[in-house]
Amino acid sequence: MSSSWIEVGAEADFAGQMKVFQIGRKKVAVAGLDGGIFAFDGLCPHAFGPMHRAEVDGAIVTCPYHAWRFDLRDAGREIHGYRPLAMYDVKVEAGIVHVLFEAAASAVVLDSRPCKLSYVAA
């Protein structure tokens, strides 16, 4: 199965925002944080908590279930040494963000109400 670049939206739409998409059978979160755009598994590797409702501090996202914390600038490494968060390659072409996915698919944006106390770095 060959990988495909999946279009998820305009770069400007992700500035300081996090959205979650259904791509194929996966939930994929895409966020504009800390000066970059990152795509990662929408479900926490621990207990499948909703990563699109993560707390954000710079490029560290914290799962609201049990506060596993992942550094998006370090390949999704969990800062306590637990299992990492899977990440996807991202490219921006002509102002459009694309995510490299395992197969051809379309991205459907899902409702991504943030946690009441979450915050996204500008």
Partner: protein, 313 residues
């Protein structure tokens, strides 16, 4: 210098539990944060509720009691086993059910017959969202002691103290807890339970978000002092955290009932939370913790925030 009060988030709440759980534990004391899928089957699980990580001696004593009874068990804790009440309190009630289910699925890996939590919030949440087809029943930690009380009684030595018993009765489960705690205390030889009138606590327990009103708290301790009580005995770790400081004014110690049980059963234990709170000075506490903070590689500035919030509440 005032300690910066970092905004309370999942990060700070759970990191406080993780960090202070390690700092306030007896040396060498460990617990599981994630039971493996093919976990060894054990009959009992002691569940360290999130904020009970600040008072680890309770879980420690529970484990020592089970060892003395030659009962197999595992202690489970960490934010990974949160019941979901923190999500509800943080304003995300829609996450509570899934978090509660995930915790119970974790417990079920060990196929226990009983899971015992330290916090009454956990009792309520797991009762509201019970796991279907669970191998276990869930109960408050007091249930464990009552179940084995007849086996424990012959092992008890007298604890010659005069005590006032603090209690909550805002729900049927709290009434049951209060009954069990009284049953346990009455089984301790030498203990004199005093006829207090003002020891009733508000709500379901003395929560940090809903503490006992200061004037009611003072009246409770003033009465205990007038009755010449050696201690105010509390049923929950939260009440323990709220009331310890009153010893500074009234000279009456706050003891969790597990502490009295440990005295009766000759189980040595330490209460670092009490020691720290009674110093009444954050920087003194930080000095006491510094060697362990450095050994464990923690950020001292973050630990200061956690200690300030958890201990000096």
């Amino acid at each position: 210098m005032a300690t910066p009060r970092k905004k309370r988030t999942y990060t700070t709440a759970f990191e406080a539990a993780r960090t202070l759980g390690q700092l306030f534990s007896p040396e060498g004391y460990t617990w599981e944060t994630e039971l493996p899928v093919r976990a060894k089957h054990v009959p009992l699980i002691i569940h360290i509720s999130c904020n009970a990580h600040f008072t680890m001696f309770i879980a420690y004593i529970a484990g020592e009691i089970l060892k003395r009874l030659d009962l197999e068990f595992v202690t489970v804790g960490g934010p990974e086993n949160c019941c979901g009440s923190i999500q509800k309190n943080m304003g995300d009630p829609d996450l509570e059910a899934d978090v509660a289910t995930k915790a119970q699925l974790g417990f079920n890996r060990a196929k226990p017959r009983k899971v015992l939590s330290i916090c009454p919030d956990c009792d309520d949440v797991f009762a509201e969202y019970p796991l279907k087809a669970a191998s276990f029943v869930h109960a408050n930690i007091s249930d464990l002691v009552v179940e084995y009380l007849d086996a424990l009684k012959p092992k008890m030595k007298p604890v010659n103290k005069r005590v006032v018993v603090h209690f909550h009765d805002a729900s049927p489960s709290r009434v049951k807890d209060a009954g069990r705690v009284m049953t346990i205390l009455k089984a301790i030889p030498g203990l004199e339970i005093l006829p207090a009138q003002l020891a009733h606590g508000p709500g379901i327990h003395c929560q940090t978000v809903h503490p006992m009103a200061p004037h009611d708290q003072a009246a409770m301790f003033a009465e205990a002092k007038a009755l010449e009580a050696d201690a105010l005995v509390v049923p929950y770790h939260s009440c323990y955290r709220q009331h310890i400081k009153m010893q500074l004014e009234f000279g009456v110690e706050t003891q969790h009932y597990f502490g009295l049980l440990a005295e009766a059963l000759d189980i040595p234990f330490e209460e670092p939370f009490k020691i720290y709170r009674l110093t009444d000075d954050l920087e003194t506490v930080m000095g006491m913790l510094r060697p362990k903070i450095e050994r464990l590689g923690y950020d001292e500035d973050l630990v200061r925030i956690y200690v300030d919030r958890a201990v000096f509440c």
